[in-house]
């Protein structure tokens, strides 16, 4: 399921949401921003690749979806392969 509904409304209140990628997990004031904007903000410091898909729970997030206060947004990291 792709989480696109009720996301593109203007004037949404900003606030805190949680963003995660691999070993990183940080509450941040990204609520009100789009997934694309959050990716841009954290991609350099955490090394999030451009093809890492964003999820909220089991729902895949559209790049234009607006992040809601309190949401847990996870950019999926590829699992370790070798062993």
């Amino acid at each position: 399921m792709e989480a696109t509904s009720n996301n593109a409304q203007p004037g949404r209140a900003a606030g805190m949401a949680n963003i995660r990628y691999g070993v990183y997990n940080q509450p941040s004031n990204i609520a009100g921003k789009t997934v694309s904007e959050a990716r841009e903000q954290f991609s350099k410091i955490w090394g999030i690749p451009s093809d890492a898909v964003a999820y909220c729970g089991k729902d895949r997030m559209d790049e234009n979806a607006t992040i809601q206060p309190g949401q847990n947004i996870e950019f999926h990291r590829r699992a370790g392969e070798k062993g």
């Binding site: 691999g22 909220c56 729970g57 999926h76 699992a79 370790g80 392969e81 070798k82 062993g83």
Partner: protein
């Protein structure tokens, strides 16, 4: 538990006796020997130990990995039956050639109800085959783990009870399980296998993956607690680890909140 109560023996299956598998076997056999005497440890690997593997892998002589590792452990742990399966694991649809130099076993013939499986091979293709075979069972645990970029690693625990998935199949979060970017060595020729790059791996990271898996086994199998730390990412360079709850109950709850 009182002494009179019967402790049910376990059947642990380790697929891959390499950089992670050798260290994992050392821990699992000790767990079985003392907590579940009379249990079975099945070690599956079609590959051979070579001198160059000694940098990261624990073995005392050259030869087939499953056979060598089983021989070593059998002499030390008499209360555990250790069975080598010197074969490559392949999927149901494998249509290639099985010859004496490259024996195969289908995952569905290897895994059965109530098994605890450790998929510690070095490719997503073979892991995917094992997870998919486990998915057809009602009660099973599959642990997997791997590492990349020297000090990064991750582990995953798939669990089913009474026909219900407790944790998600990893393909729900990892496209690399749906369309593996690599190939199952068991389905390649000897020449093709020899050309596969092992990548840059470190002993510390291999051992860390094994340790994280052992920790999950202790919590979820020995103590029968919830597998809510379903997936764990770690980075030894950063000194960080992060657990992710991939249980269906948690994810459904999280999505309900958002509706």
């Amino acid at each position: 538990m009182t002494e009179e109560e019967q402790i049910e023996p376990k059947r642990f299956i380790v697929v891959g006796a390499g950089g992670i598998g050798t260290w994992l076997c050392a821990g699992l056999v000790r767990l079985l020997e003392w907590k579940y005497p009379g249990s079975g440890l099945i070690i599956v690997d079609g590959d051979n130990y070579e001198e160059k593997n000694k940098e990261r892998q624990d073995f005392t002589k050259l030869g087939n990995k499953a056979v060598v590792k089983a021989q070593e452990l059998t002499t030390q742990f008499p209360n555990t039956t250790i069975i080598p399966v010197p074969k490559w694991v392949v999927g149901e649809d494998f249509g290639g050639v099985t010859d004496e130099d490259s024996p195969k076993i289908k995952a569905s013939e290897l895994i059965r109800e109530n098994d605890v499986v450790f998929a510690v091979v070095d490719n997503f293709a073979a892991r995917s085959i094992l997870f998919n075979a486990a998915r057809n069972l009602d009660n099973v645990d599959v642990f997997t783990g791997g590492n990349d970029d020297e000090l990064f690693g991750s582990i995953y625990h798939y669990q089913k009870r009474d026909g219900v998935e407790i944790t998600c199949h990893p393909e729900e979060f990892h496209p690399e399980y749906v369309n593996p970017p690599d190939k199952n060595p068991g389905e390649l020729s000897c020449q093709e296998r020899s050309e596969i790059e092992g990548g840059t791996q470190l002993l510390a990271t291999n051992m860390a993956v094994a340790s994280f898996i052992l920790g999950r086994v202790h919590k979820t199998i020995v103590n029968t607690q919830s597998p809510e730390e379903t997936e764990i990412f770690f980075d030894l360079g950063l000194g960080k680890s992060e657990p992710y709850n991939r249980t269906h109950s948690h994810l459904n709850q999280e999505n309900e909140i958002l509706v």
